[in-house]
């Protein structure tokens, strides 16, 4: 009886068909869904990051899964519409909730979950807070969401084969977060930057911005024709997008350092630093203030 009930429940949960996400094939076999530019604490629906998949001859690799199992389910439906090939790899570009909570939708495919070597620990440390906050914000739409840790951690580089198509993964030192990973598709020279690159949306800081700034020249040297940023439009002008982001970093760091030197307190600096960048970005006021709140106490010790 219990067995039959469990089977029935399993049947219901796996057969519930989610509404497939709208995808765009930005290069041959490279599909992305562009998230909306919404605030995390106001009007967030779990679908703000760029997520997608790459199709080879033998297998599919998912790159980031969205902010809830629901979004992950919808991504999975979109994959099933395009190909019957098995989903063998689920790659997370970093720890942030809008990129990882959809992992739960892919457990049924028994893929290799791949992430930065520090991703498993980061998930463990942030689990309680992330689940609490996202449950508060998303309510029922967060049901079933889980942090699924990497089964294959990447400490430096990793190559995976989708059948006639190789993806090159690279783990970076602490920049946007301490778990940043990029994915390069050899076949189309498409670079998935994760949140190491923000397009349109104000870059959000969490890890080590001074190191992030140092890494930009290395990131720009990658021989990519096209980049999928963590947020914002996919672009062939991705090196210029890195330049724009670098400019924002230089301005915010310089303005905060000047404030500290003049004895202007953090509260006041939050109203003023990087104000000249205001019209260049979306969601600037809230994200920029948060960045200053993070950076100012770090820069006080320089």
């Amino acid at each position: 009886m219990l067995y039959r009930l469990v089977t029935l429940l399993l049947f219901i949960s796996t057969s519930a068909v989610a509404d497939p996400l709208a995808m765009q094939e930005v290069a041959e076999g490279v599909f992305i869904h562009q998230g909306a530019h919404e605030e995390m604490n106001e009007g967030y629906h779990g679908d703000i990051a760029n997520i997608g998949f790459v199709v080879g001859k033998d297998a599919v690799a998912v790159i980031d899964t969205g902010g809830s199992k629901q979004v992950g389910d919808r991504l999975r439906e979109a994959i099933v519409k395009v190909t019957a090939l098995p989903i063998r790899f689920v790659i997370n570009t970093h720890i942030h909730p809008d990129h990882v909570f959809g992992n739960a939708a892919f457990v049924q495919d028994k893929p290799e979950f791949i992430g930065h070597a520090k991703l498993g620990d980061a998930m463990e440390l942030r689990r309680d807070i992330y689940i609490k906050n996202n449950t508060d914000i998303l309510g029922n739409a967060f049901a079933g969401s889980e942090l699924i840790k990497p089964t294959k951690p990447v400490s430096d580089t990793l190559e995976i084969d989708l059948g006639g198509r190789k993806l090159r993964l690279k783990a970076w030192s602490t920049a946007h977060t301490n778990t940043d990973l990029t994915v390069f598709d050899d076949t189309t020279s498409t670079l998935w930057t994760g949140d190491l690159l923000f397009v349109e949306r104000t870059p959000a800081m969490d890890g080590d911005t001074r190191n992030w700034l140092k890494l930009i020249p290395q990131l720009k040297a990658i021989p990519a024709k096209l980049a999928v940023p963590g947020h914002g439009a996919v672009t062939p002008q991705w090196q210029a997008a890195f330049d724009k982001q670098q400019h924002y970093f230089e301005v915010i760091l310089a303005d905060i350092r000047a404030s500290i030197a003049k004895g202007i307190v953090m509260e006041k600096t939050m109203d003023s630093a990087a104000a000249s960048e205001k019209n260049n970005w979306v969601l600037f006021n809230s994200v920029n203030r948060r960045n200053i709140n993070l950076l100012y106490p770090q820069l006080e010790w320089e």
Binding site: A122, E124, N178, G263, E267, P297, W301
Partner: protein
């Protein structure tokens, strides 16, 4: 005994916090429990001469800037000599206790705290004869207490205790002089996960900080773990003439650090 009391308060509050999760706003009901456990049935009068300022919504729960202002001067006969600062909804609500002296002039003290969820912040001021006054502010915030500790703990411990003390120039003797104080410290809350042991990292925090000017007490502070990492304070004092501003800081493991600053004009 004190620990038991804190744990009981934390438990009582956590039930109230749970009951309140549906509405993500500061819960005004927590204060009556907290007030009862710290001050019993003593009367606490709302005071218009005390004020707390902070952001309506904190950008980061890990470093929430707040400012306490007391318009009644420290040399008044009914001056506020001691202030308790509470973050009502934090797992350990008592954030800090401040002991002021006439050398503080009029109190305007800025600091940065941790907030786990939306909460009221209460400041309770006590006069020399034990009268209690209070003020509060509601702040929306998230996730400042249990967050991940990343990095090499040996290095973090080696760096802790380093201070930066700065006095705004030019100094005018006999007038309020702003002091900026920073001390390097991880302020482990005891609520952060320890992946090695599988449990929680024990609390490790800067506990007592005392400021003197040429040997005279200026201000003493007892920090709790709701004070943000690398504790920060900005406050004023009245230097009568040239002298030495000395800080002595002791952590909860009994280790003491000192720092001297020569003040001239």
């Amino acid at each position: 005994m004190r620990n038991t009391r804190l744990i009981l308060v934390a438990l009582a509050l956590s039930f109230l916090t749970m009951a309140n999760t549906a509405s993500a706003e500061a819960n005004p009901e927590l204060w009556s429990v907290l007030k009862q456990s710290f001050f019993g049935s003593k009367n606490i009068e709302p005071a218009d001469f005390m004020k707390l300022d902070g952001p309506k919504r904190a950008e980061s729960g890990a470093q929430v800037p707040i400012t306490l202002t007391i318009s009644k001067p420290q040399d008044a006969p009914d001056a506020i000599k001691k202030v308790y600062l509470f973050v009502d909804a934090n797992p350990i609500p008592l954030a800090a206790t401040y002991y002021f002296t006439p050398l503080n002039g009029k109190v305007e003290l800025a600091t940065r705290i941790r907030m786990e969820v939306d909460s009221y912040i209460h400041a309770v001021g006590e006069t020399a004869d034990g009268k209690l006054y209070s003020t509060d502010v509601a702040i929306r915030a998230a996730g400042g207490c249990g967050g991940g500790v990343d990095g090499d703990e040996t290095a973090i411990r080696a760096a802790s205790g380093k201070m930066k003390v700065h006095v705004d120039a030019p100094v005018k003797f006999g007038e309020p002089t702003p002091v900026t104080f920073l001390i390097k410290h991880p302020m482990f809350t005891g609520l952060q996960r320890d992946l090695v042991s599988g449990g929680y990292k024990p609390a490790f925090f800067m506990h007592k900080v005392a400021f003197t000017y040429s040997g005279k007490p200026v201000m003493q502070v007892e920090f709790g773990v709701a004070v943000a990492e690398d504790p920060y304070m900005r406050f004023s004092y009245l230097p009568e003439g040239p002298g030495t501003l000395e800080v002595s800081a002791t952590d909860n493991e009994g280790k003491t650090f000192t720092h001297q600053l020569e003040v001239t004009n």
